[in-house]
């Protein structure tokens, strides 16, 4: 039942996205619906990957992207990727957890901001802003197949 429900939820979302994804029902209904789902999911994927790439640029110290997003992630020449190649040791699957450095229960975005402020000596970014979401997109995508293990270290 769960699989069916999610299928129909996706179908409902596709309807909301408007006519760009709608195909005229000229052939058998079954084939149309499958094609619609694929088109919608492909669009979702493209929208996601766009954020991943913005996040990758920010993570790797791309000055032009920082300027565009109006953030200062570092003033020491250090970029996130210099300690976290392939977003290693970022552990998105382990959050939320107790974060020793901050002495508080933290989400991934709290730790991202901590790294920006402390080792990188940059300026804290809006935790709900587009730069943070793009960084989270990149970090999560890079660790996509790591099993969830919230609270572990």
């Amino acid at each position: 039942m769960r699989a069916k429900r999610s299928f129909w939820m996706v179908a409902a979302v596709s309807a909301c996205l408007g006519s760009a994804f709608c195909l005229a029902p000229t052939g058998p209904a079954r084939a149309d619906k499958v094609a619609e789902q694929l088109a919608v999911m492909k669009t979702f994927d493209e929208l996601f990957m766009e954020q991943v790439k913005i996040g990758d640029s920010l993570f790797h110290g791309d000055a032009a992207m920082e300027k565009k997003m109006n953030v200062v992630l570092s003033t020491t020449g250090m970029a996130c990727a210099m300690c976290h190649p392939f977003a290693a040791d970022t552990h998105p699957a382990q959050y939320p957890k107790w974060q020793e450095q901050m002495s508080k229960f933290a989400a991934l975005r709290d730790m991202i901001n901590w790294c920006i402020e402390k080792p990188n000596q940059g300026e804290l970014i809006d935790p709900d802003g587009p730069a943070m979401k793009a960084l989270e997109a990149y970090i999560t995508w890079s660790n996509q197949n790591s099993p969830l293990a919230a609270g572990t270290h």
């Binding site: 129909w8 990957m49 300690c83």
Partner: protein, 393 residues
């Protein structure tokens, strides 16, 4: 467009249909691409190869990584075979920016130099293992040179990729001359090899500026610069020739920036022609490679060759998600809030009694090696699956 929201018979049939299953499979392939554990298939067989090579000595090997502080002070005792006990020092991976950009890296390079100065008795020489600069800028290289020249002892240099790809080694070579080189010291043959300058040309076709070329080289996890690390035929021939008049039972130390085995190719934690290197050194029974680039405690043995990975002064790299040699006892997880944690320099020496290179990782914080798995920098490798950057960046 109208969509049925109820679970009707048609919907159920659709979900079970071959068409849908096929589309779903395709969708999954698009959306849930497998995480890439780089070069996985080849990686496995190579690791088996390495494991087999060390299997015989595995039990004894457990103690080999330990820093042998107790033997370090046996300086200058003349032993048999014309080989003497002596000490030397290693500094590498200072990754200096201009002073005004990053003062911490400067501080740490200066601290390493002062530590070497304070060695008593003084080491016979210093080997600088590459990546003096961060972006190959002559300003960075000259700053590094000023810091290193504070040391009055004999100094030898091999380049890192960060020193090279802005002006293709021009400033570096003006300062330190060309590699490879060799010298004999107290019965040991030392060989310095350049593992960084022979990248495939990734810049000409794309019309890159020197700064763009350097930027691709300076990111550890970038794909554009490719498998840049290697000796090349010319240096393989040099190695072969340099060893040919040296007895196979006499000690040899090879200095390189990159490790001479395959640890993790996506970060160039290897040289691409490591098999050829091992063919050449195979007959030698007392051979040690000392390398930088990996910014972490590493130890390995391949056949008779021991391999010791040294610390950076600048920052520690995390252990790669796979390929960490079984013989490495990893260093403890570092605190990202402490710029002096997980970094340092190296005390090395040749011990005439054991006929081996002694090594000690001189970290500026007390906890160097992990005492329990949870504290190890490799403890979460089994549950971490990383993928390379998007779009082959």
């Amino acid at each position: 467009m109208s969509i049925d929201h109820h679970h009707d018979e048609h919907g159920d049939k659709l979900l079970e249909s071959e068409d849908f299953q096929k589309a779903r499979k395709e969708m999954r392939q698009t959306l849930w691409r497998p995480g890439v554990r780089a070069d996985q298939n080849v990686g496995i067989s190579r690791r088996v190869l390495i494991n087999r090579a060390v299997l015989g000595g595995a039990a004894a090997a457990a103690s080999l990584w330990l820093p042998r502080i107790n033997t370090m002070d046996m300086a200058y005792a003349q032993e048999g075979g014309g080989v003497e006990t002596f000490r030397f020092a290693w500094i590498s991976d200072t990754h200096l920016y201009p002073k005004e950009v990053n003062t911490r890296f400067v501080e740490k390079a200066v601290r390493a130099v002062n530590d070497v100065k304070a060695m008593d008795p003084p080491p016979d020489f210093l080997i600088f293992g590459g990546d003096l600069a961060q972006l190959g800028d002559p300003v960075e290289l000259k700053l590094g040179n000023e810091i290193i020249q504070e040391l009055q002892i004999k100094k030898y240099f091999i380049p890192g990729e960060h020193d090279w790809y802005l002006d293709m080694g021009k400033t570096w070579t003006e300062l330190y001359g060309a590699s490879p080189w060799t010298f004999d010291h107290k019965g040991v043959r030392f060989i310095g090899i350049d593992t960084v300058s022979r990248a495939q040309d990734y810049w000409t076709a794309k019309n890159m500026s020197p700064q763009e070329r350097m930027a691709h080289m300076s990111g550890l996890d970038g794909a554009v610069a490719g498998a840049w690390s290697g000796l090349g035929q010319e240096q393989l021939d040099y190695l072969d020739k340099t060893l040919s008049d040296w007895g196979t039972d006499k000690p040899v130390v090879i200095f390189t920036h990159n490790p001479l085995y395959e640890y993790y190719p996506p970060w160039n934690f290897w040289v691409r022609d490591w098999r050829e290197v091992h063919e050449i050194v195979k007959p030698y029974t007392k051979i040690t490679n000392i390398h930088g680039h990996t910014h972490q405690v590493l130890y390995n043995e391949i056949g008779a060759m021991r391999s010791i990975g040294m610390l950076a002064t600048s920052w520690p790299w995390p252990y790669a998600p796979e390929g960490v040699p079984d013989l490495t006892v990893p260093m403890a997880r570092t605190n990202p809030g402490d710029p002096f944690d997980g970094v340092g320099w190296g005390k090395l020496g040749f011990n005439a009694e054991t006929q081996k290179v002694d090594h000690e990782w001189m970290m500026w914080r007390e906890e160097v090696l992990a005492t329990i798995p949870q504290k190890s920098g490799t403890s979460d490798n089994p549950t971490t699956f990383l993928r390379p950057r998007p779009d082959g960046r």
